[in-house]
């Protein structure tokens, strides 16, 4: 078992003929992900890596029965691509694209209210992977292994670092979800924690947060109400100065809000073990 992505997930790739889209479609296929189609306006009827290409998401869904989509289109077109996926009937939308204007994401969030069955992961995220089953996005399969640990993170490479440490320690993962580094995004920590809570195959949980916003605090509130998951949290950016955007658009401390300290305190108050370095995560999880 897993969350969001399992053996029944049928994926299309929006932007499949682009450089990134093609490369990562190859990686997804290699690990056995059911990539059933792709879209690229004007290239409908062709194939890419043996996968049929369609002009629109609606066509692709109709022809392939896809229920999930990975988006690899450039920032000016990505918000529209998310909405096209929702309107086309896709229920899991994973947007990898970095650099979507905030005002467009606010419109997307409003638009998605009309499609309550559609779940968005990202944007500006590495996507998700259910080891041994499939992935949508760019998380390298090599560093993962299947097992009982749920992993959710705002960061890309930091997620890889932790997944790789878990794998090396023999702690496999049920699903790894990168929710992305933007200030306005799809699924939040809270949403993903609630999904892991309901997944019988997940018994342990690692939450990798960072400075900015208060999504970590909201997840801590959920965990404080009681959880069956043995949980470890880590927050990066303890030494980040106020008012500076640390790479991710969402990683910024404004005034005294969004600090690593506030997030770590929220987790501790919820009874969650807090790792001070990523090296400590494995030890605390055992």
């Amino acid at each position: 078992m897993s969350i969001l992505l399992d053996a029944s997930t049928r994926v299309i790739v929006q932007g499949i003929t682009g450089r990134e889209g093609t490369f990562h479609t190859g990686q997804m296929l290699e690990m056995g992900t059911k990539v059933v189609g792709g879209t690229s306006p004007g290239k409908g009827g062709t194939t890419q890596l043996g996968v049929p290409v369609f002009n629109t998401v609606a066509e692709a869904v109709k022809a392939t029965g896809a229920n999930a989509s990975g988006i690899f289109v450039p920032p000016p077109f990505a918000a529209d691509a998310i909405m096209e996926a929702a309107a086309g009937g896709v229920s899991l939308i994973v947007c990898i694209t970095e650099g979507i204007p905030i005002q467009e994401m606010i419109k997307v969030k409003d638009y998605l209210r009309g499609y309550p069955a559609a779940r968005l992961v990202g944007a500006n995220c590495p996507g998700l992977i259910t080891p041994g089953v499939g992935k949508i996005g760019i998380i390298p399969q090599r560093i993962t292994s299947s097992g009982p640990v749920g992993l959710v993170s705002r960061s890309g490479t930091l997620t890889y670092e932790v997944a790789s440490a878990l794998t090396a320690a023999g702690l496999g993962q049920s699903t790894i979800v990168g929710i992305g580094g933007d200030p306005v995004m799809g699924l939040t920590f809270k949403d993903v924690v609630e999904l892991f809570e309901k997944d019988p195959a997940t018994t342990h949980l690692v939450v990798i947060g960072e400075i900015g916003g208060s999504d970590e605090e909201h997840a801590a509130e959920v965990l404080a109400r009681g959880t069956r998951l043995k949980t470890v949290a880590f927050v990066s950016g303890r030494t980040a100065p106020e008012g500076k955007r640390m790479g991710h658009a969402g990683a910024i401390i404004s005034g005294n809000r969004g600090t690593a300290k506030s997030k770590e305190e929220a987790f501790r108050n919820a009874g969650v073990a807090v790792a001070e370095t990523t090296d400590q995560i494995v030890g605390l999880l055992r």
Partner: protein
């Protein structure tokens, strides 16, 4: 991008919002001229941070001589790390009352939030803390913007019902900054109601979204170069690097924002201080690594560099070869510690060792090593 007050006011004026008469002065003489034209003025430091009044960045001038003097004192002053590039000379308003008007992105609600309060002229965060009920709030629909009745309601909720009509029209103008400029924050504090009953923007803050810069090139072109930024950040921007200057002495390179931030944290934990944040993104291509090293080495405070690269698909041997070339091209002599993982990482570490670069087995070990090596150089 955070605009300076006079820039934000120029934008507000272009949206149809009244602003007081004012002139930009780049030197004391221009300030004297502005005062001669406008009469008594406030001479205001232009910096993208709050608290300039307390820092001595605002002075009143009744005559051209006073204005000249004030400008001479203020231009070049350092306010919270920003060197004042110029002053804005503005006529004083005949104030009847002051209110607060602004919008920003409400991250929790994943929406824009419009705020209106009768308590103008004060720090809104403080007002929100002390009397949250005095701020009326609205989350407008992002597709159609605020409706008339919503704004009417907002004005009455803020206790400003008698001004509902003029406020409604003014808020709609301000809101245009969202669709037209991709503004993420705008604040008019105070919004002044004069004794004659006019409504005028007394101060203005405006921040646009960096993710939308590609469709608003004119804003960057018109306003971007006024403020003398941190020289390393300016150079890094030219080289397309995600770089933030910090005040320590250990240069940091990482791939990915989260990994890079956690590397800064590790250096501090090991007893050192990072000189910068520098995210080189995925791939760690030789050219990008060289650019990052070049910018970091511009800073004379830097005593050593720590590079932390997690390669998912990236090949360790390629990263190592690129790094050796970059170091040699730049003739770098300072200690360099590299922690990297990924495919062919063993081979990569061998290449580093042979070339005199310290490989760290883990990020924590690498952080300790660079702190030790840079301490030895004091």
């Amino acid at each position: 991008m955070k605009l300076l007050e006079y820039q934000a006011k120029e934008v507000l004026a272009s949206l149809g919002i009244p602003i007081p008469p004012g002139r930009v002065a780049r030197n004391p003489e221009e300030a004297a001229q502005a005062c001669a034209e406008l009469g008594p003025v406030a001479v205001k430091a232009q910096v993208p941070v709050g608290g300039r009044g307390k820092a001595g960045g605002i002075k009143l001038a009744k005559s051209p001589d006073e204005a000249r003097q004030a400008a001479a004192q203020i231009i070049g002053m350092d306010i919270k790390g920003f060197k004042v590039p110029l002053v804005y000379c503005e006529t004083a308003l005949d104030i009847e009352r002051e209110v607060y008007l602004g919008f920003t992105v409400d991250r929790d609600a994943r929406a824009n939030i419009l705020m209106l309060s009768s308590k103008g002229g004060m720090d809104i965060e403080q007002v929100a803390h002390e009397s949250p009920e005095s701020i009326a709030r609205l989350h407008p629909n992002p597709w159609r913007g605020p409706l008339d009745f919503e704004l009417n309601q907002l004005a009455f909720e803020a206790g400003l019902g008698e001004l509902a009509r003029p406020l409604m029209s003014l808020i709609k103008k301000l809101y245009r900054a969202i669709p037209e400029l991709d503004a993420v924050t705008a604040e008019i504090n105070p919004l002044v109601i004069t004794k004659k009953g006019e409504i005028i923007a007394g101060d203005a803050k405006l921040e646009t979204d960096e993710n939308s810069a590609w469709r608003h090139r004119e804003i960057e072109a018109r306003y971007g170069s006024v403020l003398e930024g941190d020289p390393y950040e300016v150079e890094a921007k030219k080289r397309d690097l995600t770089y933030v200057s910090l005040d320590g002495d250990i240069g940091i390179i990482g791939n990915g924002a989260g990994l890079c931030m956690s590397t800064l944290d590790l250096v501090q934990r090991a007893g050192g201080h990072a000189a910068n944040f520098c995210d080189i993104g995925g791939g760690a291509k030789a050219e990008v690594v060289e650019n990052a090293l070049a910018v970091i080495l511009m800073n004379p405070r830097v005593k050593g560099v720590l590079m932390n690269v997690f390669g998912g698909i990236t090949r360790g041997d390629e990263v190592a070869r690129g790094l050796v070339t970059a170091r040699d091209n730049l003739n770098m002599r300072l200690p360099l510690v590299v922690r990297m993982s990924g495919t062919n990482e063993e081979e990569g570490r061998e290449i580093l060792k042979v070339n005199g670069i310290e490989p760290g087995a883990s990020a924590w070990e690498a952080a300790q090593k660079i702190v030790e090596l840079t301490r030895a150089r004091v």
